[in-house]
Symmetry: C2
Subunit: 81 residues, 2 copies
């Protein structure tokens, strides 16, 4: 089973990386881009867990390890085979 | 309109960051994790483009700026209002 975890900076937190990319895109002539935010993305392969256990593990992992809860938030999706 | 771009290392490319996270998770007692791969995630806000134009801009942007085509691949989704 695969879990996809998406970690992004909270709305209220400044995202200098995203701002830099946004500036670069504008200078390169990309039209219509009004904001860019950058986050992280994890592909976690899980073995030997049923869906409920997998959800529990992934949520705990995302909360405790993959995300800094002060400045980041996460969402995830499970791909069941 | 929002575009979500996911950039991940190609299957054939070593992902040392992912391996490190995997090792850390195992040491911390997380069960059932057999692989971790880390990628990047971009939230791009687009204004004044219709869906076809947005797709074109986002694909070009992902190919030319957000992804290193030698070692990375991307996928994206559009959130139409």
């Amino acid at each position: 089973m695969k879990a996809y975890v998406y970690v992004s900076p909270k709305k209220s937190v400044l995202d200098p990386q995203g701002k830099t990319i946004h500036g670069a895109l504008r200078k390169m002539g990309y039209q219509g881009v009004s904001d860019v935010r950058q986050g992280k993305y994890f592909e976690v392969t899980l073995d030997g867990l049923d869906e409920a256990q997998a959800r529990q593990e992934v949520e705990r992992m995302a909360r405790e390890v993959l995300t800094n809860p002060v400045i980041e938030e996460f969402r995830y999706s499970l791909e069941t085979p």
